[in-house]
């Protein structure tokens, strides 16, 4: 009965959201009553949908295996937490969560803004029609409410063990919040173009929302990277997997977008570009959903292949893109500001930064799609791996850093006087050259691009330290968000280079009570334990590791066998230090009783995530300060 109620509520809310779209677009939106009606209908339909989702959560928690999806992805032995997260462990449920978040962003926006705010009614209309598009997709092609009748199975098939992990439980929600959060900006851009009143400052209305979505996306990607590092046992933080790339593209475009927003919310220059970016960011987010859910690309992450879903999503995205681009070109003359960007002003530097981001997005897209194109032409399967992306990303990032370096201190609408910064610029360069020499001599970093990247990262950091010093000693104003986020970028450049060059790994072959040494570390296999858990058995290997100074610590990697699916997984164990991780996994046992053990030294990997957290933190600070200023 509950299942039918939940499904009915979802259908009902679909109808109401569609009605809301009609209200917003085909009646007089300047009418106060109409505005209040749209707002109220939205609130009610979102309550219906949220109720439906909560019933669904309850169905999962109470082990209602007559729901096909829950029977396929949950299990009564799971802890309650994983019963809930099993909802977003596969296609139908995660799509439901995606829609819930889409509705929530709209509801939050609806809740905190006045009904009289410019563009609100039409934006709510755009959001409503997008919700309808996704709800129809859910109900028609991927119904999570489908039941197994008349007899439900006794137990469910269990969630994939590698997904039974706290980081992975929160990684998809963060990512979805990020992707779909850009709907607010997109809806406003559309509403702005439909209204056709150039005096409305749509950019400042969506700034907080877009930065919030960007923060979610940043943290979501970081969580995914961290999870893959410790759970998959490969020891890397980024694999250039197509599905990682479809998350990276909206992030890159969104980063360009929030930079452009800061320009166009102050003056109307870059307005065309900002509108275009808002459409691109949202389209790329939807494109990601298409890639993951159509099964068109072979990846670790992709859900099962289903052409029908792919076709629906492609049509939906196609309509959105063609519709918004048609609108865009028909309003082109209204959007052009006529104001000219001064060379060497802050705007000009941000425009250049947009070009870099554009190239990166284009190349990533090419890397994803090229195998498909190539195969259809030459009938030869190919894949595009890390070497291609490195060949593009590294030089682009270095160039972007150099432009950033020279732009520090630039003012809005005024020409930057480089001569007033000659001291700090030259000292930064000198210190960085010195640091690069140190890296070359002491750390034996010999890769050309690594050295160049370290240089690029360190000029930024040192230059910003001057800015901070100027602020502390002379009270000279600087934008703290920009300082923190860009120092994060500097740390990212340096730590990726060091990680790339210094990290090493080695497979060892150890018997119990024997030891082996690697890089001055002594590794002794002291014990093997069989550990019994409610849903899996595990073999735990206990290693006593002695570092070159003589400190001891234990590492306990595991091999697990999960009962429900019979799946075997590897659990890594990691000893974290400031500069490096000592990362250990066990492989198979050989006939003579010895074990294959893989040991990795992963340098500066924590710093990579730390830099991403710094960027996210800067975003949160900026949101807080924008709201205070209001």
């Amino acid at each position: 009965m509950l299942i039918e109620i939940a499904q009915f509520l979802t259908i009902l809310s679909t109808g109401l959201f569609f009605l809301n779209f009609l209200f917003a677009f085909f009646f007089d939106s300047s009418d106060r009553h109409m505005a209040s009606l749209v707002s109220k209908v939205y609130t009610h339909s979102s309550l219906l949908l949220a109720t439906s989702f909560f019933i669904y959560v309850w169905l999962a928690v109470s082990d209602n295996f007559s729901v096909l999806y829950i029977a396929q992805h949950s299990n009564s032995n799971l802890p309650t937490f994983y019963k809930i997260t099993s909802i977003w462990s596969a296609h139908e449920g995660s799509m439901f969560l995606w829609i819930l978040f889409l509705v929530l962003w709209g509801a939050l926006f609806n809740f905190v803004t006045q009904n009289s705010q410019d563009l609100k009614v039409k934006s709510m209309g755009v959001i409503s029609i997008i919700i309808v598009g996704f709800l129809l997709f859910l109900l028609l092609t991927s119904n999570p409410f489908e039941t197994i009748l008349p007899i439900a199975p006794v137990n469910g098939a269990d969630i994939n063990p590698v997904l039974q992990d706290p980081a992975l439980a929160i990684h998809p929600p963060f990512l979805y919040m990020g992707y779909i959060g850009f709907v607010i900006a997109f809806a406003h851009a559309i509403a702005f173009m439909v209204e056709g009143n150039p005096s409305i400052k749509w950019e400042s209305l969506v700034r907080t929302w877009s930065i919030a979505a960007w923060v979610f996306l940043t943290i979501g990607i970081t969580l995914g990277s961290w999870w893959a590092y410790y759970e998959l046992g490969w020891g890397g933080y980024w694999f250039w997997d197509p599905v990682e790339n479809v998350a990276l593209m909206p992030w890159l475009a969104a980063t360009a977008f929030i930079h452009s927003l800061s320009v166009s919310s102050k003056s109307s220059s870059l307005r065309i570009w900002t509108i275009l970016l808002s459409i691109i960011v949202f389209s790329l987010s939807l494109f990601g959903a298409f890639i993951v859910r159509s099964g068109i690309i072979d990846s670790v992450h992709s859900f099962a292949n289903d052409p029908e879903r792919g076709l629906y999503l492609l049509t939906f995205i196609g309509i959105l893109i063609i519709g918004s681009m048609t609108l865009f070109s028909s309003r082109f003359s209204m959007l052009s500001s006529g104001s000219v960007i001064k060379t060497f002003s802050k705007e000009s530097f941000i425009s250049i930064n947009n070009i870099f981001f554009g190239v990166l997005v284009f190349s990533t897209m090419l890397g994803i799609l090229y195998p498909l194109i190539y195969e259809s032409i030459y009938e030869q399967k190919i894949s595009v791996g890390a070497p291609f992306y490195n060949a593009i990303f590294v030089p682009m990032a270095v160039l972007a850093c150099i432009f950033l370096f020279f732009s520090i201190g630039a003012k809005w609408q005024r020409k930057l006087v480089i001569s007033s910064f000659v001291n700090s610029i030259s000292i930064s360069v000198l210190i960085s050259v010195f640091l690069v020499l140190l890296a070359y001599k002491l750390l034996s970093i010999h890769g050309t691009w690594e050295l160049i990247s370290i240089f690029a990262g360190s000029i930024i950091i040192v230059r910003y330290l001057f800015v901070i010093w100027d602020y502390l000693s002379n009270k000279k104003y600087s934008n703290p968000f920009s300082v923190i986020a860009h120092i994060g970028l500097g740390i990212l450049m340096i730590s990726i280079s060091l990680n790339n060059e210094l990290s090493t790994e080695r497979a060892l072959n150890i018997k119990i009570n024997q030891s082996d040494t690697y890089q001055g570390y002594q590794i002794k296999l002291t014990d093997l334990k069989l550990v019994k858990q409610p849903n899996h058995d595990s073999i735990q290997a206990v290693f006593l590791v002695t570092d070159p100074i003589g400190n001891n610590f234990y590492l306990k990697p595991e091999k697990r066998k999960y009962f429900a699916r019979g799946q075997i997984t590897t659990e890594t164990d990691i000893h974290v230090t400031l500069l490096k991780d000592i990362y250990i996994t066990i492989g198979d046992q050989l006939k003579d009783g010895s074990w294959i053990v893989n040991i990795q030294f992963n340098y500066f990997i924590r710093w990579i995530w730390f830099s991403a957290i710094m960027m996210g933190f800067a975003g949160v600070m900026l949101i807080v300060s924008l709201n205070k200023a209001r």
Partner: protein, 134 residues
């Protein structure tokens, strides 16, 4: 008016040159960094330069796995032809005889020296090009 038009023309021209150059460089980077995917039968038909990174996909031939300390050799097969693979390190959990596998590495004297062994995180996974029923 003429001056403005001329300026615009120059701008468009500059943009075209730069985007053309940029695309050329990107495609060049792309072309020199492709990993070609082969099944064992396709590999035997073609000659592949030794310094070209390739991917071989197929099934791990039953009874072909030989381990020596951390080193592992096995045959990848499509049940028509097989090719030997050598790898040093820990193979993935889902690596087993009779299961799908993809090796990424270099071909030398009829042996693939793999840098990476991939087995999918899905027990029903079949590598591309393997439409045969066992």
């Amino acid at each position: 008016m003429k001056a403005i038009r001329q300026k615009r023309l120059i701008t468009v021209f500059v943009i075209l040159i730069f985007s053309g150059l940029g695309s050329f460089l990107i495609f060049k980077a792309l072309d020199s960094n492709l990993d070609f995917f082969f099944t064992p039968s396709e590999l035997i038909e073609q000659t592949i330069p030794e310094n070209k990174r390739i991917k071989i996909g197929g099934m791990v031939l039953e009874g072909s796995v030989i381990r020596d300390k951390t080193n592992i050799t096995f045959q990848i097969t499509d049940y028509k032809h097989s090719i030997a693979v050598n790898f040093d390190g820990v193979v993935p959990d889902l690596f087993k005889e009779g299961s799908g596998v993809v090796a990424l590495g270099y071909l030398d004297n009829g042996i693939v020296y793999a840098e990476q062994i991939l087995a999918k995180h899905d027990e029903n996974y079949m590598p591309p090009g393997m439409d045969i029923e066992k």
